[in-house]
Symmetry: C2
Subunit: 119 residues, 2 copies
DNA sequence: CGCATTGTTCGACATCCATAGAACAATAAA
DNA sequence: TTTATTGTTCTATGGATGTCGAACAATGCG
């Protein structure tokens, strides 16, 4: 269907990483993605924005090197590039994910992902 | 001279923190600030932008809760709120600082690299 | 084949943001 | 007091960004 381009480890920049994570919608998506193991269909994670907007956000995350996207059938599967990002910037993504998990301001911000929303 | 308002720990948000750190000029400034201990005059850290621009960046850093600014005479002294930020989001700022220290794209003291190098 | 599902792309739009110069304020130094 | 230093604020500007709807593409299902 569609071929996605992913930056390799060398092309991942710290500011790019931080910028990609600085959006509430994106950070929440990444957080939900980290909670699951392995790949995850985009649609399986509830988001408060239109699908075209989410497509844009996923593009940002992908180009920042945070997620890997591949298509299978009609749906695209996203997975966190945790190991690669950690190898490049040790502790950063992990600390952000941990902080996000315990942050209340992300829950209502964008109204994302109550436990009941997760299928 | 001027009174600065600083957010308390409760008002520091993760996305605000990440956004403030996602700018190369700001991240470099914070990194230099971390290298020094205690307060530091703004002018003591070389920056590649005009002073009005730097004033804007320092405002962003201050409002994000990352730096504390106070004036003494004609100059304003900035200090990193490392302990407070770490108390709120453990590991995040520290990991970012460590990553920034070892990142080549940030090295030459603020010349905004990386954007043009990505093409 | 026709239709539903899933996501991308395009155009549009409003807003934010980094940048800089000019004018201003406050203090220090001569 | 006059000048220099330091930084803020105002205004402008060009570019990036988040958002959406509509149209499109690809696959799966009946």
């Amino acid at each position: 269907m569609k071929q996605y381009q992913h930056p390799n480890a060398d092309q991942i920049t710290l500011t790019g990483l931080l910028h990609a994570l600085s959006d509430p919608v994106r950070l929440n998506y990444v957080q939900c993605l980290a909670a699951k193991i392995g790949e995850c269909p985009c649609g399986a994670i509830p988001t408060p924005v239109a699908k075209s907007t989410m497509s844009h956000h996923l593009r940002v995350l992908r180009e920042a090197g945070i997620v890997r996207i591949r298509t299978e059938g009609t749906q695209s599967l996203t997975s966190l590039r945790l190991a690669e990002v950690e190898a490049k910037f040790p502790g950063v993504l992990q600390a952000v994910l941990k902080a996000a998990k315990e942050d209340e301001t992300l829950q209502d911000n964008g109204r994302v992902a109550s436990e009941s929303d997760l299928a």
